[in-house]
């Protein structure tokens, strides 16, 4: 759950807070869990909701590419990314936040959390087909954003 929260929030302290919060919620609401889904699916849903709420609290989603360039520090380094990809992944994490909620969730669960597509569909309470279409749209949007923030001067980073 920490890894998922980190994918959304890109901040260690906030992700730890969310992890604590999720633990407490699971502890207190365990008796209300109906067993309609896997426990892990239930915990993922709680984590995603709390992370999205936290993002909403921040209210710092940029609206234009210019704002994106100005607003975002391209400095978040996910600790799990391979060393040779570290630099490039900073740009990716900077643009992930511009995605719409559902696309963001599908992308984070599939590529940051590395979950199988079916599990992503279960967590998002949707079909496999719609997860695949969300991922396609997410990738295409990310690509557009990335091209718009292409670091001129660094011909190939």
């Amino acid at each position: 759950m920490y890894n998922t929260a980190l994918g959304y929030l890109q901040n260690v302290e906030e992700s730890e807070e969310i992890t604590q919060d999720v633990f407490l919620t699971v502890f207190n609401k365990a008796c209300s869990f109906k067993g309609n889904s896997k426990v892990s699916t239930w915990i993922y849903r709680i984590t995603i909701n709390k992370s999205l709420n936290q993002l909403e609290k921040r209210n710092r989603r940029p609206t234009s590419d210019r704002e994106l360039k100005e607003h975002y520090k391209i400095d978040f380094e996910h600790p799990g990314v391979l060393l040779e990809h570290k630099e490039k992944s900073k740009y990716l994490f900077a643009v992930i936040d511009t995605l719409a909620e559902k696309q963001k969730t599908a992308f984070i669960l599939s590529y940051v959390e590395n979950l199988p597509r079916q599990e992503v569909a279960d967590i998002m309470n949707t079909s496999l087909k719609s997860v695949e279409s969300l991922l396609q749209r997410a990738k295409s949007n990310l690509k557009k954003k990335l091209i718009s923030i292409y670091p001129e001067g660094n011909k190939k980073k």
Partner: protein, 94 residues
């Protein structure tokens, strides 16, 4: 494919081989410190329990009393019946 597209494609693939991030070791200790020591348990006060015991013993005593009375009354009914039968057979002889 121009440089920008190539670069964007590379960035999109930069999550391949990603491993799960793990939090600081002390996070678990922080969480366990926040959890309540034990879940709220409904404790019945001793005074209420003694009232329940008194009520239960009264009910049991009343049941025993009624039951023993019933046995006695069935015994007397039986003896009256045998007397009556004796009397009846006395008269039917003659």
């Amino acid at each position: 494919m121009d440089n920008k597209e190539q670069w964007a494609g590379d960035v999109l693939n930069s999550l391949s081989g990603i491993e799960k991030a793990t939090p600081n070791i002390d996070l678990f200790a922080k969480i366990t410190a926040q959890l309540p020591q034990e879940k709220m348990v409904n404790i019945i006060p001793l005074q209420r329990l003694s009232w329940v015991a008194v009520a239960a013993s009264i009910i049991i005593a009343a049941n025993i009393y009624v039951f023993s009375n019933k046995i006695k009354s069935t015994e007397t009914i039986a003896s009256v019946k045998t007397e009556l039968i004796k009397d009846y057979s006395l008269y039917t002889k003659y």
